[in-house]
């Protein structure tokens, strides 16, 4: 059961996350974050000395959810195709709970002033997928395609709908609920795509 009373530090981080993700770094105001947290600006600076420091804290806290956690997947005794399926399922469900995170992260790493943050990204999963794909390829169990292209395709198909959500909702005449249903169905849809693409 969730804690009822957040500490002030937690309230600040939660508020900062909401504002930074909604308005971006440049668009966010320290006063707005203080208001959202229900405290005053002086206390905000008492906890996090500057906007940059606060932003970095938020980024560090959320960065783990830009890629899905799939550490155990590759140890399972199932087909490679099914492993990818599990990753997709975990990823889309993660994104359904953090729909604004991809744009936040992409903006950060594309921001000339923040591009060092790219070093914080856990890119291990991408490389792991490419590596495991290569092993399967040696065994002749998957179609011969470029592993990098494959990784980009999987990620793109998972992430893009959340980036373009307002456009897609407009184009498809869908509301938030309908969009979420579409994302739920998307899990099985993408599993099918993967099977079709990978099966030699």
């Amino acid at each position: 059961m969730p804690k009822l009373d957040l500490t002030t530090e937690e309230k600040i981080l939660k508020a900062a996350e909401a504002i930074f993700l909604r308005d971006g770094y440049d668009g966010s105001r320290m006063q707005d974050i203080a208001d959202e947290a229900g405290i005053n600006k002086a206390l905000l600076h008492y906890y996090f000395r500057s906007k940059d420091k606060l932003f970095e804290h938020v980024f560090d806290l959320k960065i783990g959810t830009f890629f899905p956690k799939a550490d155990g997947v590759f140890d399972l005794d199932i087909d490679f195709t099914d492993k990818i399926g599990l990753i997709i399922e975990g990823y889309i469900n993660l994104l359904r709970e953090n729909p604004y995170l991809p744009l936040f992260v992409l903006n950060t790493v594309n921001n000339p002033e923040k591009s060092d943050f790219i070093k914080k990204l856990p890119i291990g999963l991408m490389q792991k997928i490419a590596l495991n794909y290569f092993v399967e390829l040696q065994k002749g169990k998957v179609r011969s395609i470029n592993p990098m292209q494959f990784v980009m395709s999987i990620m793109g198909m998972c992430v893009f709908p959340f980036l373009a959500q307002p456009i897609l909702m407009d184009a498809f005449g869908a509301d938030k609920k309908a969009f979420d249903v579409l994302m739920e169905q998307r899990i099985e849809e993408l599993k099918l795509y993967v099977k079709l693409i990978l099966t030699p």
Copy 2:
């Protein structure tokens, strides 16, 4: 052959595009745009009365390149699969020339203060693809999948690499040149994916 001397208005729009796409709306400074255009701030306001007006001009000019122009494609006497292939080819080549545009557009439509701009988007192509897919489905020529899911997948696979370019270059150890080669190869790769996914 390109005009040698741009008019002042053209110089301003070109400079504004460069700054807005690099720094985002909130991160852009009118002074930076004036400097980039080689003029002064007074003249900048003489041509475009406000930052908002200038931004809207840039957005209107570039919005056409967020989706590829593929008007004639659906009138061609070729397979649906090949029509999609042509769209993909046109789209990726368009993005190779406008790599920063997707993030710019996605930020704009996700910005609470600019969300009306969504109405400016030419979403016709998305609907046209879904519609034409539906016709093919009736004829039993394509696998039965959700047209909306298909459209999202195509767009995601085309656009995502350009959004995540810094991340991908880091993860794959690629430089700009290698990345562009990867995008060139991606055209044929995605054509293959589409054939595999659509063929019943």
